[in-house]
């Protein structure tokens, strides 16, 4: 058990989340079952009002969750200093069997909540409110994901044993290790880079062709390929070490916290890219989303490419 003020703060906020998320959940179930936009009954008016409360709660949770996610990563980094063997968040994530799932769940939840908000904003712009049932249906699923995250977070912090030694990121993300992560190192770097830049070009192309489905799928693929490319290739240039692949260390001060920037770009770029296919928005909004997606994806590609390029210019060789 590790109970630093940071962890306590996360727990307190989680309690608040759980409390409000439950209220929103109850209301969402009611809305999901009884919503009828055509009805003029009192109960429909009431549901309509309650939908505002649910939406407000969900907005609140998302608004706090985003900075809290960064705070969470920051806290992991801080805790890593008291755990033997861990040098960055990766060690803490690896310290318990729950860490990896928690992190994945957190990222999924960010995407789901952001998607919900987009859906909500489109829905509220239409007099017919065509997505109301859908969005509250999605929230019912999101609620369980969120609760899963909160429980997992509690369990994870609860089971961190300061005295137990953990692996450092150098071991977890190494091509010689036999963990499942090391499988990605079997991908040929040239192939990987081809995929990375190729996907980026495809995204641009589909944006030009205005095919939102292909655009969305390309973005979905871009999330995965980017993370792998960062671990296998770009990370080594950020660290200027051919053998260091950790996707956590560059969140630290020694690397000017560049990791936060990378992940924010990646999230915004791919999120706006993916949702265009999932939301039947007006044309202007779709164009806007596409534009945002392109801007952030481009920023990401530029930022990541700058590291090897600068390295090459400075040293005259590739790593």
């Amino acid at each position: 058990m590790i109970l630093t003020p940071e962890v306590l703060a996360i727990f307190i906020l989680n309690t608040i989340f759980a409390f409000f998320a439950t209220i929103a959940f109850v209301l969402s179930v009611k809305i999901f079952l009884h919503w009828n936009i055509k009805s003029v009954s009192q109960s429909q008016y009431k549901l309509e009002k309650q939908s505002y409360l649910s939406a407000t709660i969900i907005k609140y949770i998302f608004a706090i969750k985003v900075p809290l996610f960064l705070f969470f990563i920051f806290t992991l980094d801080k805790i890593s200093k008291v755990i033997t063997g861990a040098m960055c968040g990766a060690g803490v994530v690896d310290a318990t069997p729950y860490g990896t799932y928690l992190l994945i769940l957190k990222v999924i939840n960010l995407y789901v909540f952001a998607y919900w908000l987009m859906l909500n904003s489109v829905d509220m712009k239409n007099e017919e409110q065509p997505y109301t049932k859908l969005k509250f249906g999605i929230y019912i699923i999101a609620f369980f994901l969120l609760m899963g995250e909160l429980v997992l977070e509690g369990v994870m912090f609860n089971s961190i044993d300061i005295d137990k030694m953990v692996s450092c990121c150098g071991t977890i993300y190494s091509s010689t290790a036999s963990s499942y992560i090391s499988n990605i190192f079997s991908i040929d770097t040239g192939m990987l880079l081809f995929l990375f830049y190729g996907t980026y070009v495809l995204i641009m192309l589909f944006a030009l062709l205005k095919n939102k489905y292909l655009f969305s799928i390309a973005n979905l693929f871009f999330i995965i390929i980017s993370i792998i490319a960062i671990i296998v290739f770009f990370g080594t240039y950020i660290y200027q070490l051919p053998t260091h692949h950790c996707p956590f260390c560059f969140l630290q001060k020694d690397y000017y916290y560049v990791g936060y920037l990378i992940y924010i770009f990646l999230f915004l770029g791919t999120f706006y890219g993916v949702i265009v296919a999932f939301i039947d928005a007006k044309k202007e909004q779709m164009q806007r989303d596409t534009k945002i997606s392109l801007v952030f994806n481009t920023l990401l590609v530029l930022l990541l490419s700058a590291y090897p390029l600068i390295y090459y210019i400075k040293n005259g060789v590739w790593l």
Binding site: E6, L13, I16, L53, T56, Y60, F74
Partner: protein, 395 residues
């Protein structure tokens, strides 16, 4: 663009807060108090931790004391040789020190004997050795005294020398060779430094004996192993390591932090309830106002937004105010009252200042512990206000 900040709405929110002067003031006071307390406690704990660490860092890693009949007793100097032979020990020094009660002034002097050619276990002694010629001090029994000590002696007309009473009742005259300024107030107020031999004579100690032995270990990881080994060779000794000290300090500290955290969770909950209550209790005037706004075309979202602007302005202001007050309280005024709660070891160490440790992380922490809680508390009341039937309240 819709996403631009709506300054009209901010202005309106600000006006709304000012209109409800007393309520805003009340909520802000509570909020400020909360952030103030929270920040102060974190500041104090950060500072104490830092101070503790630096205090412990200056202490000898291991102190070996001989225990006889449960009391601290003089230890054989030859123990140093055995300790030096333990793997990992960098240095071991036999210390000679003690207290001398000067009845005339009713004060205790602490007297330290040093050997000028030994490695010193404390930085301030190095300085004293550099400033005074100990070779001559040893010839004619003389000493170096702290500035404060000099003053006290002068009051009893001891200017050039001082007569110590030895255990056998005879007097030992020791000349005052010089005055030094200690690194701390404490040092210069009660410390006397003289050659080991002279001090041993005053205390009536055997030539080959010492008060205790301090041990330096280069690798801090080895301290406990070395300590265990000394204990094995000399079962009649008490071994004090900095780790022991640290743990005992830490225990006091954790205990107090624990109580505080428990109180704090209750405080947060209370805060939540108070805010909820205050935000729910609407005057008919306020209700009418919301009704008017809705009647002239404000949406539920607009009103919610306005309420959150209000909350944000209020909480941000209170947060900043709380942090600034805490900064002043802790570092300028040295945190009266609160500090005493946390400084449980005041008897172990007489005086210290809270060093200025500024940690951005603490500010984020306090932010997450206050602002989201406040905003959460107003969600439901704001929603209730925003969904009021305009038609009913404006008539």
């Amino acid at each position: 663009m819709r996403s631009k900040i709506n300054f009209y709405l901010i202005e309106y929110a600000l006006n709304a807060l000012l209109r409800e002067k007393y309520k805003s003031f009340f909520i802000m006071s509570i909020f400020t108090l909360l952030t103030f307390l929270l920040t102060s406690v974190f500041f104090i704990t950060n500072s104490i931790k830092y101070e503790l660490q630096s205090t412990v860092d200056t202490l000898p890693q291991i102190i070996v004391q001989k225990i006889k009949a449960g009391r601290h007793y003089d230890i054989d100097e030859s123990v140093v040789d055995d300790v030096l032979d333990i793997a990992g020990v960098d240095d071991a020094v036999a210390r000679v020190w003690g207290y001398y009660y000067f009845e005339n002034a009713g004060v205790n002097f602490s007297i330290v004997g040093i050997d000028a050619y030994e490695k010193q276990y404390k930085k301030s002694f190095e300085n004293i050795i550099e400033d005074f010629d100990f070779a001559t001090l040893e010839q004619t029994p003389s000493m170096v005294v702290g500035r404060g000590v000099k003053e006290i002696m002068k009051q009893s007309y001891y200017d050039e020398y001082f007569n110590f009473i030895k255990p056998d009742g005879s007097l030992k005259r020791v000349d005052v060779a010089g005055v030094f300024d200690g690194q701390t107030q404490l040092e210069s107020n009660d410390m006397i430094v003289m050659p080991k031999e002279t001090l041993k004579e005053i205390f009536g100690m055997d030539e080959m004996q010492a008060t205790d032995i301090v041990v330096k270990v280069k690798n801090p990881q080895e301290v406990s192993t070395v300590a265990a080994k000394i204990k094995l060779i000399y079962p009649d000794t008490r071994i004090i390591t900095t780790q022991d000290l640290q743990i005992s300090y830490q225990n006091i500290f954790d205990y107090k932090s624990g109580i505080f955290l428990a109180l704090f969770v209750i405080a947060i909950f209370t805060f939540f309830i108070i805010i909820y209550d205050k935000a729910s209790g609407l005057s008919s005037e306020e209700k009418r106002e919301i009704g008017i706004l809705k009647a002239i075309g404000w949406k539920i979202d607009d009103i919610l937004k306005e309420k959150f602007y209000e909350a944000f302005i209020l909480s941000l202001f209170a947060y900043l105010l709380g942090v600034i007050l805490a900064l002043l309280y802790v570092y300028l005024f040295q945190a009266p009252i609160l500090r005493d709660i946390f400084v449980g070891y005041s008897q172990l160490k007489t005086s210290f200042e809270l060093p200025f440790i500024f940690d951005l992380h603490t500010l984020f922490l306090v932010f997450f512990l206050s602002v989201p809680v406040y905003v959460a508390a107003i969600i439901i009341p704001s929603w209730k206000i925003a969904t009021l039937e305009a038609d009913e309240v404006i008539r």
